[in-house]
Symmetry: C2
Subunit: 203 residues, 2 copies
Amino acid sequence: MSLERIKAARGRPKTLDRDHVLEVAMDAYWKEDIGNLSLNEICRRCDVSKPGLYREFLNEDGLMKAVIIKYQKEVLNPVLEMLNSEAPFRETLNNLVSFATSVADTKDAPRGCLLIKMRESRMHLGEATRAQIDFIQEQALSAYRAWLERSQAKGEFNADMSSEFAATYIDAQLSHAASQLARGENQLIVKKMLLVAFSMLVE
Amino acid sequence: MSLERIKAARGRPKTLDRDHVLEVAMDAYWKEDIGNLSLNEICRRCDVSKPGLYREFLNEDGLMKAVIIKYQKEVLNPVLEMLNSEAPFRETLNNLVSFATSVADTKDAPRGCLLIKMRESRMHLGEATRAQIDFIQEQALSAYRAWLERSQAKGEFNADMSSEFAATYIDAQLSHAASQLARGENQLIVKKMLLVAFSMLVE
DNA sequence: GTATTATTGTACCATCCGGTATTTAATTGG
DNA sequence: CCAATTAAATACCGGATGGTACAATAATAC
């Protein structure tokens, strides 16, 4: 029995495709200049009226927050999963580097990391989006830290620095690589720089 | 004899203070979000009418180019001068780090580097400004390179990488530090990270 | 004093922005 | 068939933007 069909709602049927809007918006924020991307433009691109968008997401802040949450689920969480692997420290670190500097071969694929882009243009974001970004950031930092401490315990990571500082350093370098890619810099050079920056972590 | 007085120009005497406008604009672009700083706002702040500003600088692009040139003269060139010193490699590198992470103790002093800020918000800039930024960037990279090659010749720098790559790496790390400072991150942590990132260059 | 030259600021232009009031359309419940 | 409900899109709001037309002003040249 039960919710095969959800009771056939009351009023005029909804035609707005929430997921489609989020896909278009995520792609746009990821590839283009966040501060110069208007709600109007997004409405145009996914053929949705402005009041429709406001009904669904409340306001621009709401849309952006929904976008970053989608990004978190689809892109960031899989990365953080890598940190739970029992693979050797070196290997996981290399995986991180490879992942961060990988670029889909499609010509107009997004480059860099949407989270980092948003963090960099913090001033253009609303309250809710900012809060969500800070939350994700904290989450990531503690994931790095836990991974580093596990590696320390296994004797695979023993650089002369606190796990907290190392987590900050790794996050900073990966973020920097992401912005370089977003700015269009050469993928191989960026990767080489990351490896140099991490070289003292692996003896 | 001669140009004690410059011939007392013909028409209505100019009252617009070009230098004052440039000071105000440089300060503003340096401290605030470039993409959200309108010409109107700058006019308001230095009490100049909009047509006056357009007459002096042609357009927004012209103003920004004038600002970055002023910044180059007053801030960047002195840094590049450091690279001509005959001091040991380590010492000059440390000077670079200290300079990059120094923050005036005044509460509302600008943080980070205007050049890097502009490079990061490239999309908000006009043609002329972009060209000037690329020019400065090339200049800086070859200054780093020359310095590295001189240090190599003196046997003070011998990391296993080309001087070109090392120059790119150093520039990237210093730039990253500048954006972190601009974003308000802790000055001491940023400095510590820079030192770690450069640790493999000095043995 | 009058023409010439150059700089000034007011007041305006079209365009876009985020956000909303309002009317119209599509459906269910009775 | 008629109310109730929900979502739709048009058309608008005030305000900001980059940029300009234009008349007023202040000086020199003659």
